[in-house]
Each structure stands twice: as structure tokens, then as C-alpha cells.
């Protein structure tokens, strides 16, 4: 597909009126939007208004209205273009160090990395990493402790200040001389990393380890799938895991470690999802909205996908609700708003743009340096791909204020969509008609997008009841 250029305009003018600094016009295919960085507001405008802004038609009254809304003024002097300053050169900003790619002491039914205990793997005859890396690119060797330290150091030298240690279960990491994840964290801290998080199921944390976490100033993220012990344990396929995770949370809380507790919404836990969120809040931990299961790895399984009602309720964008900041606009005009500046390194050195993008290998740090991967075309083309390249989004006036998930967009289309261009399956806006909440976007076998209205009755029902993502 031919790449499209940015289409965002500032300092539009007519007669004595000019857009204020920080006010932008973004055309869509049937409507347009005005982004105002000064107030964080976004306005939707119809085609007639677009024609007035672009000078196709004249309407001084409309410009006067914009003046009353503080979007335009008659001042001519000292206009400063902001857009050029918002364009970022891609640079490394966040790294997932996936120090244990295969092993976990749990065997979650939805794991995107298809991790499980090594004993299970042996029993089932699945070699480690077999299902994740294509043969021509496969590297069997695990990264050594010294090499991890080099990668941490190199990441810092490339400008990265935030990282996460993840697995598998990262506390299972064992270096050649029995080094642990905490040795790597300690090194990252000594190098200068400002934000370090470890993503763990918590079941292997002891009082001593929690004290170490506190001393190192680590942030911790923990998965909790339900407030119901039986449901949680059935998802992890590990009896007793709920109890151990809860014990770890208590230990972390007691010493004041910053903890976020995250829940993936899937069929087995959807009936307890509200109670689980409440449970987490009552325990005093921060959390986000439940993350609706992505069809990646073992999560690519229809039998554990949440019901369509839950997908509509918890994940769909059902009505226009946008705001804009310098940071959001800067990321959107510079590249992909989520992927820009991020990368994941697996324990055999593969570099992925995102931890979920298991088949999108953009380099290997056992074959080249991380610097070469970061400056190489494979990763740069992912980072620099704006939503002007995403089908449907490219025609939407909200494209520089919105977010999406590329692995989800690719996975939801089950092989029909391309990683960088598949439409976002959780958006209900139809930029060709200006309508919301009639369906969602999919791609057909020819790779063409279509508006799938099969969810329409459920969307209507959820909106009537007041969906999680619906405006009141």
C-alpha cells in the first residue's frame, strides 16, 4: 500500500481571522476535526465547516463563531508554527526485557507467549520456543547474563530510561552463575534507568525478595484474574496460585512498593470482572480497565474469548470522546502512537516491536547490536508508521488523537489483515458516513476493509444500558 503523508493544517486563515497557535484542522473523508492544544478540546465539524476553513466557501459568521470559541483571533503578529516542533525523530523510549521467554510456574490458558512450566513442556513434547520463531530466523541460544547487561547498557545509551522485566515468569531467571532478575534490575538502576517495572505473577516472591524490590525502588505489576480463587486458579491452571499471588500482594503492600494489578478479561472470568475490579480497588492497588483478551498465542482461542456483550461493553469505542495534548499529537504525527520508541527483547535475542507481536521479528541482538536494530529499517518502519497508513483510520479526522493496538488489529482479522494496515477492530466510527456505533471494522479475504454490522443489536443494547465506554 502506498504510504500517505501527514494531513494536518495550522494557521488556517480567512480575511482578518487566523487559527490561534496550537489550533489544528484535520480533514477526514466526510467530516473534519479541529484540535485545540490550548484547551485539550477536539471539535467535530461537518463538511460545510471544512469547506469554510479550507477557503472553498466564505462564511465570516462561522469564523466569528470560532473567535468566540477562542479558536481563532485577529492577531497577526508572532505566529509560531508548532507542528514542526512536534515531529519526533524515532528513538528508543521503552524496552521490555523478556528475560525468560518460555518458562513460567503457571500455565495460563490465554498466554500470548505460550509459556508454561518446563516440566509440562517436556511432557507435552513441545521444545522451548518452537512455536514462536520461524525457522530461518530461529536462534536457539539464550542470552547470557553479561549480554543482558550489555543490552541494558546499550538501551540506556540509546536514550531509553524506562524498562520492564517480564517473562514467562521473570523471577525464574537464572544466569550462568545463578544470577537473578534482581541482579539485572540492580544493574539497570546503576546504569541510570529511571523507571523499572517487573511483571510477575507474584507467586515466587518471598519477604526477602520483596525487601529487595523495595530497596531497588522497583515498580511491580501483577496479574490477578479474579477475586474468586477457583476461577483464578482455573485460568492459571495452577492450584494455589490465587492464594500465593494474594500473599505476595500483601507483602508488597506492607513495605510500600508501588503495585498495579492487571486483569485480562476472558470468558472464564467475565462474570466476576466487576467484583474483581472492586476487590482490587478495595485492596488499595491501582489498576486499569480490564484488558480484553487479544487473540495472540494461546489467547487465539474462540472458546475463551469473552462474550460479544463483554467485548462491546469493555472494549469498543461507542461514541466520540477525544481530547488532545502535545504529547499525544506529537506521537501521532511522528509515528504509531503506541509502538513509537518501544521494543521487546526475548531471551534468545529476538527484537519485537511489542511484546504481543510474536511473529514480527525486526532483528536479533545475538546477530547484531541493539543499536543496529534500532537504526535499521525494520523497526524504524514500524515506529514511523502513522495512522495515515491504517485502513479506515487514514480517512478519519480523529486519526492524530486516537490510539490503537497493532497486534490486536492483526490478530482479530485472522490472517487477512497486515500488521501495520489492518483496521482497528474496536472502533465503531464510520468516517465515510460520520456515524458511530453501528458496527466494527474488519478486513475481508482480499484484504479490503468492511464495516461489520453483526454486533449492531448488541451495541444498541449495551448503549441503552450505559456501556463502560459510552458517554452518559
Amino acid at each position: 500500500m502506498k504510504e500517505r503523508n501527514l494531513d494536518i493544517k495550522e494557521h488556517l486563515f480567512s480575511g482578518e481571522y487566523t487559527f490561534k497557535d496550537g489550533v489544528f484542522f484535520v480533514p477526514g473523508v466526510s467530516r473534519g476535526a479541529i484540535y485545540d492544544l490550548n484547551s485539550s478540546n477536539i471539535y467535530s465539524i461537518n463538511q460545510s465547516a471544512c469547506d469554510i476553513l479550507t477557503g472553498e466557501t466564505e462564511n465570516p459568521e462561522f469564523w466569528k463563531k470560532l473567535e468566540l470559541m477562542n479558536l481563532v483571533s485577529k492577531e497577526k503578529s508572532d505566529r509560531k508554527k508548532i507542528l514542526p516542533k512536534l515531529l519526533q525523530s524515532p528513538s528508543l523510549q521503552f524496552v521490555w526485557f523478556e528475560i525468560v521467554s518460555d518458562d513460567c510456574n503457571e500455565s495460563c490458558i490465554h498466554c500470548y507467549a505460550e509459556c508454561m512450566p518446563s516440566t509440562y513442556r517436556k511432557e507435552m513434547g513441545i521444545p522451548a520456543g518452537e512455536d514462536k520463531v520461524s525457522e530461518p530466523q530461529k536462534v536457539d541460544r539464550k542470552i547470557s547474563f553479561e549480554r543482558w547487561k550489555q543490552l541494558i547498557n546499550e538501551s540506556y545509551s540509546l536514550g531509553c530510561r524506562k524498562c520492564q522485566f517480564i517473562g514467562g515468569e521473570p523471577t525464574l531467571y537464572k544466569g550462568e552463575n545463578n544470577e537473578t532478575v534482581f541482579d539485572l534490575v540492580e544493574y539497570a538502576r546503576s546504569v541510570g534507568f529511571e523507571f523499572i517495572e517487573i511483571f510477575t505473577n507474584g507467586t515466587l516472591l518471598t519477604k526477602e525478595k520483596v525487601q529487595k524490590i523495595k530497596t531497588l525502588g522497583l515498580n511491580v505489576a501483577v496479574s490477578l484474574y479474579s477475586n474468586d480463587e477457583i476461577i483464578h486458579d482455573s485460568i492459571t491452571k495452577t492450584p494455589g496460585s490465587f492464594r500465593k499471588t494474594m500473599e505476595a500482594l500483601k507483602l508488597l503492600q506492607d513495605v510500600g512498593v508501588p503495585v498495579r494489578v492487571e486483569t485480562v478479561l476472558m470468558r472464564p472470568n467475565e462474570e466476576t470482572i466487576n467484583q474483581t475490579q472492586k476487590f482490587v480497588e478495595e485492596m488499595g492497588f491501582s489498576h486499569k480497565q480490564p484488558d480484553v483478551l487479544r487473540p495472540n498465542g494461546r489467547g487465539d482461542n474462540p472458546s475463551i474469548m469473552p462474550t460479544r456483550e463483554s467485548i462491546v461493553k469493555y472494549s469498543l469505542m461507542l461514541s466520540p470522546s477525544f481530547s488532545i495534548t502535545k504529547d499525544v499529537l506529537s506521537r501521532n504525527v511522528s509515528g504509531h502512537p503506541c509502538l513509537l520508541g518501544k521494543t521487546a527483547i526475548t531471551d534468545n535475542g529476538d527484537v519485537l516491536p511489542c511484546i504481543f507481536s510474536r511473529s514480527m521479528i525486526v532483528g536479533n541482538t545475538q546477530k547484531t547490536t541493539l543499536t543496529q536494530v534500532v537504526s535499521g529499517d525494520n523497526l524504524k518502519s514500524v515506529w514511523k508508521s502513522t495512522k495515515d497508513n491504517v485502513l479506515v483510520c487514514q480517512d478519519c479526522e480523529y486519526r492524530y488523537a486516537c490510539f490503537d493496538c497493532r497486534p490486536l488489529s492483526e490478530g482479530a482479522n485472522q490472517g487477512n489483515g497486515q500488521y501495520l494496515t489492518a483496521p482497528y477492530p474496536r472502533c465503531t466510527y464510520n468516517p465515510y458516513t460520520g456515524e458511530w456505533a453501528k458496527g466494527v471494522w474488519r478486513v475481508n479475504e482480499k484484504g479490503e476493509p468492511y464495516y461489520d454490522e453483526t454486533l449492531k443489536p448488541i451495541i444498541e443494547d449495551v448503549m441503552q444500558k450505559g456501556g463502560e465506554n459510552n458517554e452518559s
Partner: protein, 83 residues
């Protein structure tokens, strides 16, 4: 705002705010009946004075009686538990 309000309309130029009040200001028309306002703050559910006038610029509606609606959220990054 209702989705149908945003349908393509040829003719009169239309402009509609699509940012939730929390991030912007409270247009008077969005204020519920009997609502009072306080500057730039979430003001429900307690201690709201009775309404004297509609909410002005940079004010948000107060809901003295009954449950306040869930504050609308601008579309953020989708939830992503590892990052």
C-alpha cells in the same frame, strides 16, 4: 452527545465539542436540572449547593441528588496490561 448529531450534514456549518467535560469546560446546555457548579472539579456527590444558575465556563455540573453519572473518559490508549 448522541452519535446521530454528528452525521454528515450539508448546508449550515456545524461544530460540536467531542471532548468530555472533564478535559474541557462545561457548556451550560450540558448541565442537568437542579445542578450547581464548582470551578474545575468533580463536585459530586456531596455538599452540592442548590442550583442558582447554569454552569459557566470552566465549571462542571454538580449532582446533589442521586447518583452522578459515570464521568465520560476521552479515548485513551486501549488497556494493555504489560505496557
Amino acid at each position: 452527545m448522541k452519535a446521530e448529531q454528528l452525521n454528515t450534514q450539508i448546508g449550515e456549518p456545524k461544530i460540536v465539542l467531542v471532548t468530555p467535560a472533564k478535559a474541557g469546560s462545561c457548556p451550560p446546555a450540558d448541565c442537568p436540572p437542579n445542578a450547581a457548579c464548582r470551578p474545575n472539579t468533580d463536585c459530586y456527590p456531596n455538599n452540592c449547593p442548590p442550583a442558582m444558575r447554569p454552569c459557566g465556563p470552566d465549571m462542571l455540573p454538580c449532582y446533589p441528588n442521586g447518583k452522578a453519572p459515570e464521568p465520560p473518559r476521552p479515548y485513551p490508549r486501549p488497556s494493555c496490561y504489560p505496557g
